[in-house]
């Protein structure tokens, strides 16, 4: 489903965030991307949702080289993926329902469809009783679940989560990761970048480790740190 071929990213100030990265991620996989700060995790995520362009290399998602997309085609790429961030990015003056519905409104879905899909998404993340609340009325974990609901409301084949538990306590972090696992079991490819060692070690999913912009480890049933 996703293929990075010799992808490098050098920023204008000369910093090489990624260097010759080759990854292949299959459909319905669950992948942790781990590494210390500055290793290139966030840059990798930004390349995947076309927030950044690679300096060199190819990036193929579902047989489309997204590097070659024109700017006006990028919205259509993003409609096929959900993105979740560490800082939630909810609209503070809209209710949870409206925040989730927003993702369907911008693609022109009719109200009846929006109502149905938003209800399903909120039920999946366990926020069906909070649809009328505002973000400030929710805990950190609940806000992140609302973001996940927005990310999956239009059933995208791919979900990207960039440090989704970065601002959460351990218990809540577990809830979020379990939710992402549940979504993955519903046939969505999930890629999570994280610092959360305990979660990675217990989940035993595929782990891609980055260091200095390079892949140093890529193993199925992996752990955060290779003790070898």
């Amino acid at each position: 489903m996703i293929q990075l071929i010799s992808v490098s990213k050098v920023f204008p100030n000369g910093f090489e965030a990624l260097s010759n990265v080759d990854i292949h991620i299959g459909r319905d996989e669950f992948v942790f991307v781990v590494g210390p700060s500055g290793s290139g995790k966030t840059t990798l995520m930004k390349l995947l949702y076309r927030e950044e362009l690679p300096t060199s290399g190819q990036l193929i998602i579902d047989k489309i080289n997204i590097v070659e997309l024109r700017p006006q085609q990028v919205p259509y790429l993003r409609r096929n993926m959900g993105v979740v961030f560490q800082d939630f990015k909810l609209l503070p003056r809209r209710t949870i329902y409206e925040n989730v519905a927003f993702a369907l409104q911008v693609v022109g879905k009719p109200r009846s469809i929006i109502r149905r899909q938003v209800s399903l998404a909120l039920e999946l993340v366990g926020l069906q009783n909070k649809s009328g609340s505002f973000p400030k009325d929710l805990s950190g974990g609940e806000q992140q679940r609302a973001c996940i609901a927005r990310a999956i409301v239009n059933n995208p084949p791919l979900l990207l989560a960039d440090e989704p538990t970065g601002n959460l306590d351990p218990t809540t972090s577990w809830e979020i990761i379990n939710l992402l696992d549940k979504i993955n079991k519903r046939k969505t490819t999930v890629i999570v970048s994280t610092h959360n060692k305990s979660v990675v070690d217990i989940m035993r999913k595929r782990v891609v480790a980055l260091e200095g912009g390079r892949i140093v480890r890529d193993e199925q049933l992996g752990v955060y740190t290779n003790s070898k």
């Binding site: 409609r79 990015k89 609209l91 911008v106 693609v107 927005r150």
Partner: protein, 274 residues
């Protein structure tokens, strides 16, 4: 929405409307003058009946003259008082008849007015000749000055208005930066994102032009009334159809400026938010 932006639109469009009305009215005066095929020849001394007939015959024989009419100073004064006396209260202003004996010469075509006037001016007993040509040159110069000066002023004001609208919308875009970034994240196209800001620009233009039209209409009605009292012979525009066209142009320019400002502002800002 910024009061400054709306206020700037009001000022610019009001001046633009004044310029348009000035051009149209001066054009009307020019048109009236240039279609006038009359030459007036004045006699400043007393002449008898035989002399009147002699002058009349000489003028009639000139090429291009269609008709010659003699009006004595007494008849001219009575006619003037009957047409304008009630408006100008002449008896309070003038006690002696200021008008001369006049030969009113109808020329066949406007192009011959100047040559007939020159020939009549060369005749004995004729003290002064007046015809539309001299006044026409002066009014046409005025019309050109109004057009050129107005165009420059309106051009500068339009640029200033556009810049203020752009800046106003930009502040709104910046205030909604978070909303816009989330819109882009969930797959909104640039067109979807731009439309609310373009509509805001249109609103600024619409409100501004509505208020400026109200100012223009009220001011013009008052000015026309006053001018028609003071200068009743001036062919000023009061036909609703011609005025409606001016108002429509002003409204369209205002809405266009608002829309253009909104579009430019949000397009520039979106390039900065990737």
């Amino acid at each position: 929405m910024s009061f400054v932006a709306v206020g700037t639109v009001i000022v610019s469009l009001t001046i633009f409307g004044v310029f348009l009305m000035g051009v149209v009215n001066v054009g009307s005066i020019v048109g009236t003058i240039s279609s006038n095929v009359q030459v007036s020849a004045y006699v400043d001394k007393n002449i008898n009946r035989a002399e009147i007939d002699h002058i009349k015959n000489r003028i009639s024989m000139l090429r291009g003259v269609a008709n010659v009419r003699y009006t004595s100073r007494e008849d001219a004064w009575e006619k003037f008082k009957s047409e304008y006396g009630y408006k100008l209260k002449l008896d309070d202003i003038v006690t002696n008849n200021p008008l001369p004996d006049t030969f009113i010469i109808e020329v066949e075509i406007p192009e011959l007015v100047s040559s007939v006037a020159k020939q009549v001016a060369g005749m004995d007993d004729i003290s002064e000749v007046r015809y539309s040509g001299k006044l026409l040159d002066q009014v046409q110069s005025l019309a050109s000055a109004v057009r050129i000066g107005g165009l420059i002023l309106v051009g500068m004001l339009s640029v200033a208005t556009l810049l203020i609208v752009i800046n106003t919308i930009r502040l709104t875009v910046i205030a909604r930066e978070k909303d816009i970034s989330i819109m882009k994240l969930v797959g909104a196209t640039n067109t979807f994102i731009k439309w609310p800001f373009i509509i805001e620009g249109i609103m600024i233009g619409t409100i501004g032009s509505g208020i400026s039209l109200a100012i223009l209409k009220m001011s013009y009605d008052v000015i026309i009334f006053q001018l028609s009292q003071a200068l009743p012979f001036l062919p000023l525009i009061s036909d609703f159809r011609q005025l409606f066209a001016i108002y429509l142009i002003v409204a369209c320019v205002g809405i266009f400026l608002g829309m253009l400002g909104g579009y430019i502002s949000v397009s520039k800002s979106l390039k900065e938010f990737r």
